[in-house]
Symmetry: D2
């Protein structure tokens, strides 16, 4: 079961599809292996970048079953939903299938502090004993959750064990939450998203690792390892080597197609297909990507 | 099967719940009877005011099955969904269970004309032969669909047979669409929402009726009947008698609780329960509602 | 100077333009007379429906100067602005010219409770001694201000003397604020907007009157007078007589053109011109409006 | 006068303030010198990052006067405004003072293709002979302008001579516009924003340069020079050296304080003050910034 001590790299897993849009279960197995090889200490499935919203309820269960059966690491399942009934149904099924916890993002209609806190109290009640990750991603959800509301949720909901942090800007938020836990609030795990674009500063502020899906997940593993070994200079060298591509993959909307293209190029999935609505890459984009990868490889070779 | 000739009152059906939040199937039967008695020529289920987003996939199917089995009128099923797979799954099941058509609202992420038209082309492809209603409700969806894009969708998608019109303001849109069909565009059915607040003017502009769920659905039936009988003065007298309550029920968010309270008061459902998150009415609201209903009854009695 | 005891009808004044879009100062004088004749106990200028955003800084001052010079009642000046410097400049000039107070709506970028409270603390500091009205209009601003944040602002800012209430739904908010002032919080004036659509219920909940610009401002004056005279039945009869037109004028965007057309029809302004971007009325709209006015006059004649 | 042939680096100028919030005119002179020394081929003032919205009308004119008097390069003045009257007033004054052109971003209320095109037609009419830059920044404005609408504006408005491109993702948009001009549409200048984060790819797609305000404007100048000299490898080396800081400054909201801190550190302005509402940097942020600058300098030294 997921708890507040979770650390490292929880890779946000893609959901592979065949060219005709059908779920590609073999590639799902393969990409799970790939993530584990590249240093994942956990996996997060059915997130936004896992195209969760595009799956039928049955397909979602297939993904959960397949991944939990195979992965020897904790699996977090995204269960965000327009309504609590669907959230509860999926959460129960996922936990029964061996998930370590679930992840919930707030619906875009929430505005005031009390609305947000009340939403998570009800969600926690619906989820029962399942540990949950609070996903804080204002760019995607439109919901701004100030630190004091996160702390209220942590206080109200003992099953809230982790923050998936991807506010932007968000570094001060990590500092505020860590100051609060140093002053006595329950300390939860903070894993950071945003494609890893601020990973180094996030670690410096007190994050416990990353939860993101950059197509070179070894970046997060190696940067965090160097950082935790006290070698900040090497952590920065590694980070900087990957940064041009992190930035390029970070383009909203387009980013997922770039990520899947790269994963297919690396052999981690068979097809780069993004399910409809979702595009393919232009020749110009592919050429830009190739140039970035070539430079990245050269630079990593120099670093040794 | 639903087609472009649909007219009259397609009542937006509530989904009744027990006080503990469970689906109340007996009340569902009862409220269907009630709607039919009050003049419904069709029913629309699993719409926004049917709390579709709060149901599990299984509950949604239960509602479809129960209503289609009982209603001798066309049943339209709301299938709007964050993704096409869930939309397709529900649509197929609904049509197999005897639905006459389905209804689709655009996701809030759409902005440009081409994005909107492309979305409905893909939706129509996914829905296959199922006739569909285009729900145009910018206040709820955030998506503004200009008349020329509606006409594009009508041209692109032969299965688009009806517009659920609730743009606000929206009267000029009806005029524009009717001018276009008079000039040769395919004429689809236009049924209007917004709780009936502009019903009279909508009929004058060329609408074919109403698709809304005001707790006195006989209002829509009687106003349309008087209007179609050429008695505009009586249509206005009736409309004006109900207007104070139409206005009061039209409060966003709160409106559904008012509607369910009124339906429970009229015996159409057993409990006024709105599923979480959703509130109950304050004593002040209930008192205001009672005062409005008492005046409405007095005024209708005068009209005869 | 405006204070917490303000009551009655603060009419939201239109800004009249000539057909070529130039400010029509003679009509401005005339419409001020008209509002006073129809029972205004105050005037609010440069509000959203006063097309404040479409005026140059110089034109804004012309309007303030002309109205304050002429009106023997308190004049509130809308000073909402993207930045505090422009707000301060206009507020100072307006107060120097004899305004009784100013009105501030929050910018759309505010989200969390603390952001909203902080914004008004800074605004109050910038406005100095000028009494201000807090405009709470989420449908237009996108900012939701819960009662506890309004109470925080009232506590933080002694110069906040009035709430322009147009949350929707908003009746429970009035009740919450009145309960708080009954329990010891400073009681500020609450005048209600939304075109008067909920005026009766707002008065029942404890509002002190209306601040809105419906083209028949005598409606608000007469309804409030009947209500304060204890004759609720007559208040409701009057309200209901005007309601079909209140509803019709309440169409967002289009409403201002309808209002100006009606005011021109009544002789209160010379031209119905809405400044660019802003449209004119179609023949169908004008016909609908005429029908509503004719029925309204007949019904008022019956009421005596 | 600005025209379609504009190229290079139009630096988005900050507006310097003293610690008490007053306009710092001496620093304004100094930062203009700084931008010119660092390779600016033009300047853009009163943009979003110039805190235009926080200035009074009088202060805006002071900035225009001071900069146009001093700068031997074309000066573009941001004139975006809630209304056309204020836009026209500022534009006329700016052009009279020697501006080369003005810049207009669409108001957030625009949604459909036709609304956007109509807005710019009216804006162009209001601006008269002043050449204008169309600012396309959906993340800030909420308005998505597809390529075909940009091309419509270019066709409708002969005075539209430049696109400030900062859609995100936006590379395909550049390609689409260049393909259209290769096929006969009028070719306008495209200068790119987004803090320079995609500068290299933007140049590859056909942009004419950058219009952005990164605190090391020599980055844009040097990268573009290397690129135009055909030395793409050096362009990439330079770009990569600055990228960690480009990324860090790119944090929305916080970015301006970081930029001003850096400019003050470099001696280009006397104080890092951001006008209210606008914060200061935490010690942690300053430390992160120092670390990034130190590494940047080391890496640039290696590149020679």
């Amino acid at each position: 079961m997921l708890d507040e001590t979770a650390r490292g790299v929880f890779t946000i897993a893609v959901t592979p599809f065949r060219p005709d849009g059908a779920l590609d279960e073999e590639s799902l197995d393969r990409v799970v292996e790939f993530y584990l090889e590249k240093g994942a200490t956990g996996l997060t499935i059915l997130g936004m970048m896992g195209e969760a919203g595009k799956l039928s309820a049955e397909e979602s269960l297939t993904v959960v079953k397949r991944v939990t059966a195979r992965a020897p690491v904790p699996v977090v399942v995204g269960v965000s939903s327009p309504g609590f009934a669907a959230m509860q149904t999926l959460s129960r099924a996922a936990m029964d299938l061996g998930a370590a916890g679930v992840m919930v993002a707030p619906p875009g209609s929430l505005r005031t502090d009390d609305q947000i806190a009340a939403y998570f109290r009800t969600a926690a009640e619906m989820l029962g004993e399942a540990p949950f990750v609070l996903q804080d991603f204002p760019l995607a959800t439109g919901v701004q959750i100030p630190p004091k509301v996160i702390l209220q949720i942590v206080e109200d909901c003992p099953t809230c064990v982790m923050l998936k942090h991807e506010d932007w800007p968000g570094l001060e938020k990590i500092s505020a939450l860590r100051a609060a836990s140093n002053a006595g609030a329950r300390r939860i795990s903070i894993l950071c998203g945003n494609g890893g674009l601020y990973l180094l500063e996030e670690m410096l502020r007190g994050a416990d690792g990353a939860m993101t899906g950059f197509a070179y997940p070894e970046m997060m593993a190696h940067v965090i390892a160097a950082f935790e070994a006290g070698d900040e200079a090497r952590a920065r060298d590694l980070f900087d080597a990957y940064l041009p591509l992190v930035r390029y993959e970070g383009q909203p909307g387009l980013g997922l197609a770039i990520r899947k293209h790269t994963l297919a190029r690396r052999g981690a999935i068979a097809h780069p297909t993004v399910r409809k609505p979702g595009g393919s890459l232009s020749a110009a984009t592919i050429a830009e990507l190739e140039a970035l990868v070539a430079r990245q490889e050269a630079r990593l070779a120099q670093l040794g």
